[in-house]
């Protein structure tokens, strides 16, 4: 067999697995159309760069180097973060590692392909948004910009090397289990951080934006001259031959040294990660205390959620994603204190997540169904397990708003209660079969349910706005809408999966 044959086979395997993972969430046709549309849109948007470049003769070389440095640094940081997550997942969570390691394929080939797959993922993800600019510049008479493809590939390889090195250091410092958890939480924080960064203009006040611009101007004034070594990466990025060649050689060298040098260590960590599943826990007394079945099942749900730090981080992340919207409302002419209305939507979201976790991800539905506990009690316990923490968390912002403005506080109380209750009931009446790890994608298992959950949250938010705007006159609208809400929540008549239909 050719020495490169296993490498080629593994590369194809990686590409196929990644494609399948992407198409597991969206249909292949939809995904392809989406990517093509995105490419067309980004190319159209990128048209502005060569057009603008023609009229920007006043821009100095230093300005270009500073801009390229900041963009590259930002891209590099994002890439390193994703590479770290990718490296940890490659080591810890890939089920086929044992199969590959037991095969006669050289171990270094496995590591090289795995790490190359991470680098390729980073390259494609970034290229989708940045390369249209290079293409447009090339089309409009600046062919040297096509070197950006090589620069980006080098950046991806360097970021991957850095991610792999960081992952190995974390394994050494924290151990396999904590590293995995850290990477999962870090992935969530990264997503939210990115969202906040993209929305920075909406979040920052105009005064803050001005002072940030002023600071950047001062920084640029005190920057070293363009020939300084500080700008070498940027000069390489814009295709100046000597720095470009040095950068390519260095990046490739670092990548080869990391993958080949750390191959043995990575495999040892992969084996350790797959073997270290035992988790010692001091058995909680929450379930041993004498109590009724409802209380017992409620406590069980809390214990299961509480013992899953990744799940809790996901819940927090899902709520933090809404932060930019709150800032947008606060900056709107409606007034800053109306931003508190976001509590209504957040409460509904939180209750929805918890209700989905308790109802649709029940690990032993047959156990509950064969226990001498009525279906009503099981569902009641699950509803309580979702609503009690939601109420406790929402209590503080509601009390604060009531202190600021009594009517606003009352409105948020009524609408948050309504939102949390209806969204939780929606999940109780329409359970799906999900995995806890799918919390962020829970809408995918039943798209209509996912959309309805969001719609109910927005509906209650709209009611709260109406009540703030109309005062008591907003109440009849709410009362008139209640039958509609009831109809939405009870739209399916099938029996929930976690308890059997009563026998006839």
């Amino acid at each position: 067999m050719n020495a490169l044959a296993p490498l080629w086979l593994l590369l194809r395997h990686e590409v196929r697995l990644n494609w399948r993972q992407m198409t597991a969430r969206y249909s292949p046709t939809l995904l392809t159309i989406g990517i093509i549309c995105l490419l067309v849109m980004t190319h159209l948007f990128a048209l502005s760069l060569p057009l603008a470049a023609a009229g920007l003769n006043w821009i100095t070389r230093l300005d270009i180097l500073a801009a390229v440095t900041s963009i590259s640094l930002f891209t590099f940081m994002i890439m390193v973060s994703f590479a770290l997550i990718g490296a940890v997942q490659t080591i810890c969570t890939r089920d086929d590692m044992d199969l590959l390691l037991s095969s006669p394929v050289p171990r270094q080939a496995i590591v090289v392909v795995r790490v190359l797959a991470i680098a390729f993922g980073l390259f494609s993800m970034t290229a989708l948004f940045t390369m249209p600019f290079a293409n447009m510049m090339a089309v409009f008479g600046y062919p040297r910009f096509l070197l950006a493809y090589v620069v980006l590939a080098c950046l991806a390889l360097t970021a991957t090397s850095a991610g792999v090195l960081m992952a190995q250091a974390m394994f050494w410092l924290l151990g396999a289990r904590r590293t995995r958890l850290f990477a999962q939480i870090f992935a969530g924080i990264l997503g939210v951080g990115f969202l906040l960064l993209v929305n920075m203009r909406s979040i920052l006040s105009s005064a803050a934006q001005n002072s940030a611009m002023q600071m950047l101007g001062e920084l640029l004034n005190s920057a070293p001259p363009p020939d300084s070594w500080v700008w070498l990466p940027a000069r390489a990025a814009i295709g100046e031959p000597p720095p470009f060649i040095i950068a390519v050689v260095l990046c490739l060298g670092l990548f080869v040294a990391t993958t080949v040098g750390l191959a043995k260590r990575m495999i040892a960590n992969a084996v350790a990660a797959n073997a270290s599943n035992t988790v010692k826990t001091r058995s909680s007394r929450a379930l041993t205390a004498q109590c009724g079945p409802i209380s017992l099942m409620r406590r069980k749900e809390w214990l299961l959620i509480g013992r899953d730090p990744w799940l809790m981080s996901q819940i927090v992340m899902q709520l933090l994603v809404m932060v930019p919207c709150i800032f947008l409302i606060a900056k709107s002419p409606a007034g800053a204190h109306n931003a508190w209305l976001a509590v209504v939507f957040l409460t509904a979201q939180l209750a929805g997540m918890l209700a989905w976790l308790t109802v649709s991800t029940e690990e032993a539905p047959d156990l509950l169904a064969t226990a001498p506990v009525s279906r009503r009690n099981v569902l009641s316990a699950k509803l309580q397990a979702a609503l009690i923490p939601t109420a406790l968390i929402a209590a503080l912002p509601i009390a604060t708003t009531a202190y600021i403005d009594l009517w606003l506080g009352f409105t948020i109380l009524v609408c948050s209660t309504g939102g949390a209750l209806t969204v939780s009931l929606l999940h109780v009446c329409n359970p799906t079969n999900g995995k806890r790890s799918d919390l962020s994608w829970r809408g995918n298992s039943n798209k209509i349910l996912g959309l309805t959950e969001g719609f109910l949250g927005l509906m209650w938010l709209a009611f709260s706005a109406l009540m703030v705007w109309l005062g008591w006159y907003g109440m009849p609208v709410l009362l008139l809408a209640l039958p509609v809400i009831y109809g939405i929540v009870k739209r399916r008549r099938e029996r929930p999966a976690l308890a059997p239909a009563p026998a006839h």
């Binding site: 599943n277 035992t278 988790v279 010692k280 826990t281 001091r282 058995s283 909680s284 929450a286 379930l287 041993t288 205390a289 004498q290 109590c291 079945p293 017992l296 099942m297 069980k300 214990l303 299961l304 013992r307 899953d308 690990e363 032993a364 047959d366 156990l367 509950l368 169904a369 064969t370 226990a371 001498p372 506990v373 009525s374 059997p500 239909a501 009563p502 026998a503 006839h504």
Partner: protein, 250 residues
């Protein structure tokens, strides 16, 4: 007398896209160790899932120790335990917490749960792992924890669907010994298995089900006699019986 029967099924029917269980009659006496055998898709699991209340039958009746399981499922469930081939566990709970949860569901007092739980975990060699979360357990350990949960409330009727699938010889022996002891102590045990050697050695009576109907039942000796194969193993008998047309077997 119906009260002496642990399980009495009459005219049980269930159809999905095609009939899975068709007019099934089955009676299992109290204290019996009964093996329900049949080829894949014969309707064994569907029958048992209807007995434990996981599926609603299309027709027929089910009585557990004289209690109509369809009219009063709570009373029936109090007397039963169900162990499917995939253990009913919570990954983030330890075996002690799992048993405490089961004890609470069956309304047992905490002291009894603690005492009996320890006894069962020790018997199944899980006591040393009592403070480890089930997520790190092997399949055999999970199955043993699930079995401990099923036996915790001392059920009068224990129903097991392929309980020995995927277990190594040592764990399978532990499970078999425990089941045997329970049956000797008066618990009625119904077991489905594809490992016919196990059925041959463990069970008192065997029922063979095919296409949702009871093909034949009896002790191994009775089945041999009926088939006219005096020295056949259960495996030979089973293959002979399921290969025969139904009318001929009856």
């Amino acid at each position: 007398m119906p009260g002496n029967d642990a399980l009495r099924i009459r005219g049980l029917c269930k159809s999905f896209t095609r009939p899975a269980v068709a007019d099934l009659d089955l009676t299992i006496g109290a204290g019996e160790f009964y093996g329900l055998l049949g080829p894949n898709g014969a309707g064994k699991t569907t029958t048992l899932r209807m007995v434990v209340g996981l599926l609603a039958p299309d027709g027929g009746s089910i009585e557990i120790f004289g209690v109509n399981a369809l009219a009063d499922p709570m009373a029936a469930k109090r007397m039963m335990a169900w162990v499917p081939d995939e253990p009913l566990l919570y990954d983030k709970l330890t075996p002690v917490e799992y048993l405490a949860f089961i004890g609470g569901l069956w309304g047992m007092d905490a002291k009894t749960v603690g005492h009996r739980g320890q006894e069962l975990l020790e018997r199944l060699d899980l006591w040393a792992n009592r403070d480890e979360r089930c997520e790190g357990f092997s399949r055999g350990m999970k199955q043993k924890a699930a079995l401990a949960g099923a036996l915790l409330h001392d059920p009068r009727l224990l129903i097991l669907d392929e309980p020995l699938t995927g277990l190594d010889a040592a764990i399978a022996r532990q499970v078999k010994d425990l089941l045997h002891d329970r049956a000797r102590a008066g618990c009625t045990v119904i077991l489905t298995t594809h490992i016919l050697d196990v059925a041959e050695r463990l069970v008192d009576r065997i029922g063979i089900i095919q296409s949702g109907r009871l093909l034949t039942e009896g002790t191994l000796a009775e089945l041999r006699l009926r088939a006219g194969r005096k020295d056949s193993s259960l495996e030979d008998l089973f293959l002979h019986l399921v290969a025969k047309p139904q009318a001929e077997v009856a």
